[in-house]
Assembly symmetry: C2
Homo-oligomer: 306 residues x 2
């Protein structure tokens, strides 16, 4: 049905699209909420989708919250949601280390308490969470005591990121058997009013530069995020719709995995950017063109309530 | 005289090379010393060069010391050297901000006390040196108080590098009029026994990723380092010999500026790497082939004492 791409979604087309899928995957920030405020009518959209028999999932690159913390926030904002519908990179990184890396040992974690919890939940012991101030001189840093049971370095969002953490990661990663995983490569966390703070991508790039190695990245657009959902809920990508506000993560994930894709304009990317990708002859950029776009996910509500 | 490149330097050739230059520029770590120990006989080499009427300069990407601190270290190890022969990136970055950027205002400095001193020496006021711990939440970070007189961000080696410093640099660099300078891009600081700690390149990469801008880099192989020496001492590059242990910084600087180049094998790079560059058909790699190489700079001593 997606004869042409980057189509404005409205009227009968919306109904047709929804009829063609059984599962809808939503990015969170910029899609169903902004900061601590729900996008107007977004809770009705999610709840109506469920009433219409669709399965709904929340797929986010944010690594600072556990599944349960997300479920609590969703509930508070009026979304009908449970923790097992939430796939954040804190949880997915734990699954990745356990099921893909088959990690047998501890992980040196540059990340949050939420990541620590999700790792412990799957039986992996993280070390390194919290501040790690510097002392001594270079030769002391190079000989910093290491935990001999650490078999992987995991980098997520960490407000306590410091030179000593960067150094500790380097010392672990000098061992070629030590695995190297990053939650995501987002360079900035956008906030209200056009402001932004540095994202995990900056921290990961620093560690990659020191280690002279590339991390395996778990978050969107890596297909692992979808595989994580798909394997647990037996999803057929052709019957899935990926809804997001970013072309380089959400829409790219959808394209990479064979899902239908819907760009919503309440967040980062614009239609002009999508159309520029469409007109380019670059295969990479073609994967950053959504099938459809809407001003807000509230626009699909009439089709759900008809 | 350099008919073929990457030639082992010995015998009459050494004399011929030295006769063809009036100035010799030395990298420091891995060339004239390693850590706190002089390379055997290196002080005799430097002192004999001077006795033979050559001008000698010390050109280093290390940003953690002032010119005076370098002169003191050189003196202690037996080198006949003065502060005005030392060109480190702490000093050269101050010169760059003053003379190239024509900076009119303060600089937000991710760097050391030595960098602070060199900036103050040329009349530039740095802010930000020392620890900068995190507090609050994302929205507080985005609204962190900024110094309205800051007109540039300078990134050098900073053991107090932290998420908050990264964030503060981002907030300054969101202003497109704020200039962005890095001391150097070395990814690691090599230490004895094959150990290493993260170099300034890691910190700079993190800030570049957050700011979505590329820094102007002062250090080798940027030709500014040579121009800084050349303008003060009226050097003719064709009568200069650049001596270093790294192909990607020292030898590349020599090639970029039209100097003769000598690789010494007491540090990072190997002859095999140089020969691989020579055999490659890549113009970029060709600039990382030295004219000559020696096992140690001590090897040129006989030619100086003959």
């Amino acid at each position: 049905m997606a004869a042409s791409k980057c189509t404005s979604l409205s009227g009968a087309l919306t109904r047709q699209l929804l009829d063609s899928v059984d599962s809808v995957l939503f990015d969170c920030d910029g899609v169903i909420w902004r900061g601590d405020q729900a996008i107007p009518r977004a809770p009705e959209v999610i709840n109506s989708l469920k009433k219409n028999g669709k399965r709904v999932f929340f797929v986010t690159n944010n690594s600072t919250k556990t599944r349960q913390m997300y479920a609590d926030k969703l509930g508070k904002l009026g979304f009908d949601a449970t923790a097992d519908e939430v796939f954040g990179t804190a949880y997915c990184s734990a699954m990745y280390l356990k099921n893909v890396c088959k990690l047998d040992g501890k992980v040196y974690l540059i990340g949050s308490n939420a990541m620590k919890q999700e790792l412990e939940e799957v039986g992996i012991q993280p070390v390194g969470v919290g501040p790690d101030p510097i002392s001594g001189v270079q030769i002391d840093w190079a000989n910093v005591p290491l935990d001999k049971e650490v078999r992987a370095v995991l980098v997520g969002f960490d407000e306590h990121f410091s030179y000593m953490k960067l150094n500790r990661a380097l010392q672990y990663l000098c061992n070629p058997d030590c695995q190297f995983v990053g939650t995501n490569t987002d360079t900035r966390l956008p906030l209200e009013g056009g402001k932004a703070v540095p994202g995990t991508g900056c921290l990961l790039r620093a560690v990659e530069t020191a280690a002279q190695r590339q991390a395996q990245v778990v978050g969107k657009p890596s297909s692992f995020m979808f595989e994580c959902v798909a394997s647990q809920f037996d999803l057929d990508p052709q019957k899935c719709l990926m809804v997001g506000d970013r072309l380089d993560t959400d829409i790219m994930l959808g394209s990479n995995c064979g899902m239908k894709t819907l760009l919503t304009l309440t967040g980062v990317s614009t239609v002009a950017e999508a159309e520029a990708n469409l007109k380019s002859e670059c295969p990479h950029r073609q994967r950053m063109v959504p099938d459809y776009y809407v001003d807000s996910i509230a626009d699909i509500l009439p089709a759900l309530q008809a």
